[in-house]
């Protein structure tokens, strides 16, 4: 398969060797689970239960009316203890449902046991996916049923499964590809059926050759595997499409505009698992890693498990922690509270020691142009940052600041240690706020 590649990008140290050979394991049921009402991109959900209510495993406990949203479910059976504000990985406090598990794992009786998706209509499958609360598990957590409901005028011809996993440290997608290849292929087939597409492609970076070998055994001629060069941000939707199909998602557009739907391999697993067991999305794979945990792990954890439990499972801290990141080190968010629960978009937890979480004092831009070279979107980050600092938002917008995918490559490469991405984020927020007015 011909690979086209894309311009820009960086090569941060991969650090995947820390956890890549460790099979996915489960962790003991924690004493409390906090299911937040903000799990995904789109509208937050309203709790459907009250404190002291008994909930079954897989019971829907929150939903919303909006289109772009997905319901949340109880990860296990137990009692609702409290509905209050809890720390969200994004730094704010949001409404969450705290459940005290009873350990009985009683499954919600109304759950459909019908596992034959072939007999369902695409519309019914979309409904099932929505009801199962399945969202993109790559990180952005965009509700999957929205993604696979393209407007009729857009013709979709290809589905790409994203197995690039370009973020350093993270290995959960790699483990899924090794351990659950048949589910990945099954999930992809469900998606192809829903969208009426003949072509499915799984994109994998060439540092995961063994995953390619394993997956090859399960595919037919309708599915291809694209081996991509290892480069960050290969896993960005737009760049995946560009690298595999040489199609460019237009500025401000979606993959739909070039006839493509992209889903994470984890999402495919979740879809396939849902049709196998009938259970909604109540757990996900998380890589817990970093030089500062004693034994890095790939874990299958319930949504709502506090991060402290994950670190416990990974053997605890090696030395004093400096930074705990939800997600990978390039795009993840540093959290401040050890009680922060896992949400549907949490693909990894990376722990840095105090020494590694060093803060660099920025110096004046020396105009080396490296940020321009590495920007996968073809922007000029240092100029954008300068415009934002000088409050020249119109100029920044003309230079394409809104196209920024916040991959952080510019910030990573900058020899002057300038917080370019922070400025660009500020600028984007300001421009969007002004637009709304």
């Amino acid at each position: 398969m011909k690979i086209y590649g894309f311009k820009g990008g960086v090569h941060p140290p991969e650090k995947k060797e820390l956890s890549k050979d460790i099979p996915i394991t489960k962790i003991p049921l924690p004493e409390k689970l906090i299911v937040l009402t903000v799990q995904h991109t789109g509208a937050s959900v309203t709790p459907l239960v009250k404190p002291k209510d008994y909930v079954f495993k897989g019971q829907k406990i929150g939903d919303a009316q909006a289109f772009v949203t997905a319901p949340i479910h109880a990860p296990t059976s137990g009692t609702v203890k409290r509905i209050a504000l809890y720390p969200h990985p994004n730094g704010r406090n949001v409404l969450g449902i705290e459940i005290e598990p009873d350990g009985k794992e009683e499954i919600f009786p109304d759950i459909s046991k019908d596992s034959s998706w072939q007999n369902l209509s695409p519309e019914d499958i979309r409904k099932r996916i929505r009801e199962a609360g399945i969202v993109g598990l790559g990180g952005a957590a965009f509700p999957t049923h929205v993604k696979i409901s393209p407007p009729p005028e857009k013709k979709i011809d290809t589905i790409i499964l994203n197995g690039a996993e370009c973020e350093p440290y993270l290995t959960i997608d790699y483990r899924l590809m090794l351990e659950k290849p048949q589910l990945i292929v099954e999930g992809l087939r469900i998606l192809m059926y829903v969208l009426g597409v003949k072509k499915g492609i799984i994109g994998i970076e060439n540092n995961k050759k063994d995953a390619v070998e394993v997956l090859r055994k399960y595919i037919d001629s309708d599915i291809e595997i694209a081996i991509l060069p290892t480069k960050y941000p290969q896993g960005s939707e737009k760049h995946l499409i560009k690298a595999i199909l040489d199609r460019e998602v237009p500025s401000g557009g979606l993959p739909l505009d070039v006839g493509v739907v992209v889903n994470n391999v984890g999402t495919a697993v979740a879809i396939a698992e849902h049709f196998k067991t009938g259970l909604p999305l109540i757990s996900r794979g998380v890589t817990v890693t970093g030089e500062n945990v004693n034994s890095p792990k790939n874990l299958d954890v319930l949504i709502g498990t506090p991060v402290s439990k994950l670190i416990e499972a990974a053997g605890g801290f090696r030395e004093k922690p400096g930074k705990i990141i939800f997600g990978g080190p390039m795009m993840g968010i540093a959290i401040y509270d050890m009680d922060t629960p896992v949400i549907k978009g949490t693909s990894g937890v990376v722990v840095f020691s105090e020494k590694d979480a060093k803060y660099y004092e920025p110096v004046e831009c020396v105009r080396c142009g490296k940020c321009v070279d590495v920007c996968p979107m073809g922007l000029m980050p240092t100029i954008l940052a300068k415009y934002v600092r000088k409050d020249k938002l119109i100029e920044a917008e003309e230079l394409g600041i809104l196209d920024c995918i916040e991959c952080g490559s510019c910030n990573y490469i900058c020899p002057s240690r300038r917080p370019l991405l922070q400025w660009i984020r500020v600028g984007k927020t300001d421009i969007l706020a002004k637009r709304r007015k």
């Binding site: 922690p321 400096g322 080190p329 196209d403 020899p415």
Partner: protein
């Protein structure tokens, strides 16, 4: 757990950074210049080592002085940019200049070429070249008095006694001077010819330049387009293109000055334009100007045009809809 929680660092992504910072890059430039510097000292004698040392030390002191005046922390000195400026300035001086020349030159370079604009990153002209241009127009006699190398490659001792004044190969050609012999390509390439301390050895400068390109400190586009432009224009005007490339400070300029991060365009396309422009102006000065050598002014002119290039040349945006 609570106590640890208080200490967690919160910052926005990304959370990892390259090791190579500005100071690292500047140190690489210094390493890359060492061969040509040592060759200069070998060719022109120990006195030129003094010139180099005085230039570097005074550049650092001037920088410290400026930082003190501007109430800036002195640890900015650790970016090594003043050392690079001092070294580059010294390498563009004739070997027997009096020692106050590098002191004044580096003062102008650091104070008027860099710090008045706000220090490293805000200067729009290459500081070392500002210093050199100042010296050249202020003390033209001192700045154009050359000596024969005291050591020659291959055991050949120079015929003329050292310290007698001589002329650079470019001056011999440009001014149609009689009584001088033009060095062969080989000598031009090796560098045992009259010229500035660090500009004569094309070989060692090329070596340093390739090292910097390999280390991804400089972009190959500028030196290549620069040298190529000089080559083509010489060809068009019936000059010996190999001579035009090897003689004078073209290699020093193309690899070490025209590639200065701060004063060259951001984009790759812009860098090519910069190289072509510098080559063009260098040749215009060499062919039609009053100076035999045009590298420093060629680069300075393009430095001044860099903001314009950056305004016009933008990288192609991903997914840009062509109108």
């Amino acid at each position: 757990m609570k106590s640890e929680m208080d200490k967690l660092i919160v910052s926005s992504s990304p959370h990892i950074f390259v090791k190579e910072d500005v100071s690292y890059a500047m140190r690489q430039v210094i390493y890359a210049l060492i061969p040509a510097t040592l060759a200069g000292v070998y060719f022109f004698g120990l006195y030129s080592l003094w010139v180099i040392l005085v230039s570097i030390i005074s550049a650092v002191l001037w920088e410290a002085f400026a930082l003190f005046l501007r109430k800036k922390p002195l640890n900015i000195l650790l970016d090594f940019s003043a050392v690079v400026t001092g070294l580059l300035l010294a390498l563009t001086l004739p070997p027997k200049v009096p020692l106050w020349i590098p002191v004044i030159g580096s003062g102008v370079a650091i104070l008027l070429g860099k710090q008045v604009f706000g220090g490293l990153g805000d200067n729009f002209l290459n500081p070392a070249l500002v210093g050199r241009a100042f010296l050249l127009s202020s003390y033209p006699q001192i700045m154009t008095s050359w000596i024969e190398p005291i050591h020659k490659i291959g055991g050949m001792v120079s015929q003329a006694s050292p310290l007698t004044s001589t002329a650079t190969p470019l001056a011999i050609v440009k001014l149609k001077l009689t009584g001088y012999q033009l060095p062969s390509y080989w000598h031009l390439f090796i560098g045992d010819i009259p010229g500035c301390i660090g500009e004569t050895s094309a070989l060692l400068l090329l070596l340093g330049g390739v090292y910097l390109i390999y280390k991804e400190i400089v972009d190959w586009r500028i030196p290549l387009s620069y040298i190529l432009t000089v080559f083509i224009i010489s060809l068009l005007f019936g000059k010996d293109p190999i001579f035009q490339i090897l003689a004078g400070g073209l290699f020093l300029g193309a690899f070490f000055m025209a590639t200065d991060w701060v004063t060259t365009p951001l984009t790759k396309k812009g860098k090519v334009i910069f190289g072509i422009g510098a080559g063009f102006f260098t040749m215009v000065i060499r062919l039609f100007g009053i100076y035999p050598e045009g590298v420093s002014y060629g680069i300075l002119v393009m430095n001044a045009l860099t903001p314009l290039i950056d305004r016009t040349i933008k990288p192609r945006k991903f997914g840009e809809v062509r109108k």
